[in-house]
Amino acid sequence: MDYKTTRTLLLVSGLLFATTTWANEDNLPLMILNSCIVCHGFQGSSLGPATPSIAGIDKEDFVETMEAYKNDEIPSTIMGRIAKGYTHADFQVMAKYFSKQTFVRYPQQVNLDKAKQGAVLHKEFCEKCHKNNGYSFGDEGASILAGQWMPYLRFNLADIRANVREIPKKMKKRLDKMLKIHGEESLEALINFYGSLTERK
C-alpha cells in the first residue's frame, strides 16, 4: 500500500469517529487508555503493519489475555512489560471500551491465489471455532482473525507451533492435521486468506 492510499484510508476511518460523542468520562476513560491507544489506535484498530487490532474483542477474553500477559503466560515482545503497569479493575475498564469498538480492516498486501486456497482450508479446519470466516469472536474466546495484521498472525502461529503459546488442544489438533495433509504452505495460505478479508461479506 503506498503512502497516499494510507492517508486516504486514515481520513475515512477518522470520519467514522466524528459522529461519536465521548464527552462523558465514562465513555472515554482517557487516563486508563492513555498508552494503549498510541499503539493500537484510538478506537482499537491498528494501522499495522504488525501491531494487532483489538477493537471488538470479547470482554472476558480481553481481561484473561491481559492477566495472562501480566503473569507472563503468553509470550510477547512488549505487552508483558506493559500489562504489569495496570490493575484488574483497569483491565475491566479497557475491556468495556475496546469491546464496544468496531474492528476496522485495512487492505493488506496479499497473494490472491494463496488466499483462495486459504478460504478452503479455513472452512475445513478453522471455521468451527473462528466463525463467519474469522470475522466474529467464537466460543471459548476464539480470536477474530479476519483482517488481523498478517505479521501478527504469522508470529502467533509460529509461537503456537513452537508450543510457547497455549491454545485449546482441539485447535492444536486441527492445525497439526491440516499441516500433515496440506504441508507448510497451508499456513501462509490461511494467513493470506485472513489478510485478504476487508469488508464483511
Binding site: L10, M31, I32, N34, V38, C39, P49, T51, I82, Y86
Partner: protein
C-alpha cells in the same frame, strides 16, 4: 480579537522542506462559528504534544474553543528520521500536513508566537495579532544553546549539521554520508543529558553503521559523548557486537564517554575538526554531526516559564507551570523526569494535560492521572529493542509503577529482535495517525 478574518491560505502550492508560514501574513481558519461564551484554549506548537492536547480537548469537551498556533505548514517527525540514514525511508515519508485534523474543529493559525502576556492572558503573534486565552498550553519542543560550544552556531549548520530537527538538516547529513568516500570517518557528538530523545544519537550511529557496512565497509563512526552512560546501553552494545564488531579491530563504531575525553569543547568547521576532553585533543573527520546542548523552545523563555536549568518546571498532575498560572507546559520543554524527552512521553503528557484543562474549565476534579512511554530503538537490520514504562504520581513526583516496564531482554532470540522492528514501525504508523488524523 476573536474576530479573525477567514482568508484561505494557499497551502496547495510550494510547501517544500522547512517552509515556514511565519512572516507570511496569512493563515488558515477552520469553518467553525466562533462561540461567544465558550472558554478559550490556545495551544502553541503543533507537534507530538500540542496536537494530541488539541485533539483530546475537543473530543472531551466540544464546547471549548481550541486554537492551535503552529509556525510551519507541515511537520517532519524526528522519530524514525534516523531511518533516512540506512536508506529505509525518504524524507517525504516523515512529512505530515495538518489537514486530517479539520474534522475536530480546531482553529489552526499558521504563525509564530513571539510573546506571551501571562497577566492579560494573551499570546502575541509575529503578524501582530493577539490571541486571548483562558488556558494556554505550550509545547514548543526544543531550542539549541548556540552559545555553549565555541565555533558551533547556526552559521555552520550547513557544513556541520545537527539534524536534531527533522527536514532539511537530516537531508544535509544524509547527502554528506552519501558523498563521503569509503574509508572516511563520521563523528557524532552527544551533549550532556537531558536532551531530546536520549537514545536517538546511538540509534543514529547504528543505522549509519548499517549503511557503511553495506556500502562503505572501510569507514567508521566515532561517538564523542559528554555522558558516561546512556539508556539501553547494554542492548546497544549487544547489537553493536553482533552487527558492527565493536571491541574488535575493525569495529564500525567506537564510543568515547566523557571520562575518556569524550566531551566536546570546541569546533573548527573550516578544518572539519573538533576538540574534546580536558586537553582539547583534536579529532578530524570527513563528516561531523554535532548534536548541540538543548533547552526549552524559545517561547518558553518569553513568558518566564523556564528556570535556570533551561527547562520548565510544572505541576505533574496538571502540567500547569510552577512559575505562571493558567499556562501549561508539555513535551520536551517541561521537566517530567524520569519520563524522557520523547514523542510517546509528550503524547502521554498531552492527554493528562488535556484532561486537566477540561476539568479546570468545567470546574471539576481532575481524575487520577496516568502516564506511559515507549522508546523503540533500531540497531540494525532485523534488530530492534525497546524500553517501556508506566508512571504514576506519588507525592507530586512521577514514579515508575513497580514491576512494570523495563527493557527488552538481553540476548533475546533473533526472532524477537526482528519482531520488535515490525512493532517499532507499527508504533510509528499509529502514533502519527493519532497525531494527524
Amino acid at each position: 480579537m476573536s474576530k479573525i478574518s477567514r482568508r484561505n491560505f494557499l497551502i496547495g502550492t510550494g510547501i517544500g522542506v522547512g517552509v515556514t508560514a511565519a512572516g507570511i501574513l496569512a493563515y488558515k481558519m477552520m469553518e467553525v462559528e466562533p462561540k461567544s461564551q465558550a472558554a478559550k484554549v490556545v495551544i502553541i506548537g503543533g507537534g507530538a504534544g500540542g496536537l494530541i492536547a488539541a485533539k483530546y480537548i475537543r473530543i472531551l469537551d466540544p464546547t471549548l474553543e481550541v486554537t492551535l498556533i503552529e509556525q510551519n505548514l507541515a511537520y517532519y517527525t524526528c522519530f524514525m528520521s534516523n531511518e533516512l540514514f540506512n536508506g529505509e525511508r525518504t524524507v517525504e515519508s516523515l512529512k505530515f500536513s495538518y489537514d486530517g485534523l479539520e474534522k475536530y474543529g480546531i482553529n489552526f493559525v499558521y504563525n509564530q508566537a513571539i510573546d506571551i502576556d501571562p497577566i492579560a492572558r494573551k499570546v502575541v503573534l509575529q503578524n501582530g495579532k493577539q490571541l486571548a486565552y483562558d488556558r494556554l498550553i505550550v509545547s514548543p519542543g526544543i531550542d539549541f544553546k548556540w552559545d555553549s560550544i565555541e565555533g558551533y552556531d547556526e552559521a555552520v549548520i550547513g557544513k556541520i549539521p545537527h539534524a536534531w530537527k527533522a527536514g532539511s538538516q537530516s537531508l544535509i547529513l544524509r547527502q554528506q554520508l552519501e558523498d563521503m568516500e569509503d574509508g572516511g570517518t563520521l563523528i557524532i557528538t552527544v551533549p550532556k543529558k537531558p536532551f531530546r530523545c536520549p537514545t536517538a544519537p546511538y540509534e543514529r550511529a547504528s543505522l549509519i553503521a548499517e549503511y557503511f557496512k553495506r556500502n562503505k565497509p572501510n569507514s567508521n563512526i566515532l561517538i564523542f559523548d559528554a555522558n558516561t552512560v546512556f539508556p539501553q546501553q547494554d542492548l546497544f552494545m549487544e547489537g553493536w557486537e553482533k552487527l558492527y564488531g565493536i571491541k574488535t579491530e575493525n569495529s564500525l563504531i567506537e564510543w568515547i564517554p566523557s571520562n575518556e575525553a569524550g566531551n566536546l569543547v570546541r569546533v573548527n568547521a573550516k578544518e572539519m575538526a573538533i576538540y574534546v576532553g580536558e586537553f582539547e585533543d583534536e579529532q578530524k573527520a570527513e563528516v561531523i554531526n554535532v548534536i548541540p546542548p538543548q533547552k526549552a523552545g524559545k517561547i518558553a523563555f518569553k513568558a518566564g516559564l523556564a528556570d535556570d536549568s533551561g527547562w520548565c518546571p510544572v505541576n505533574l498532575k496538571t502540567f500547569e507551570s510552577s512559575l505562571q498560572k493558567y499556562i501549561h507546559v508539555i513535551g520536551d520543554a517541561c521537566i517530567a523526569s524520569p519520563m524522557p524527552k520523547a514523542a510517546h512521553a509528550a503524547n502521554s503528557q498531552a492527554k493528562v494535560c488535556a484532561l486537566a484543562v477540561v476539568s479546570a474549565l468545567q470546574g471539576k476534579e481532575m481524575p487520577e492521572p496516568s502516564y506511559a512511554n515507549t522508546c523503540y530503538s533500531l540497531i540494525g537490520e532485523n534488530f530492534g529493542v525497546s524500553f517501556t514504562a508506566v508512571y504514576h504520581l506519588e507525592e507530586g513526583k512521577l514514579q515508575y509503577v513497580e514491576g512494570a516496564g523495563g527493557f527488552s531482554p538481553l540476548d533475546a532470540s533473533a526472532e524477537q529482535r526482528k519482531r520488535e522492528v515490525a512493532y517499532a514501525h507499527s508504533w510509528y504508523k499509529n502514533i502519527t495517525n493519532e497525531m494527524f488524523n
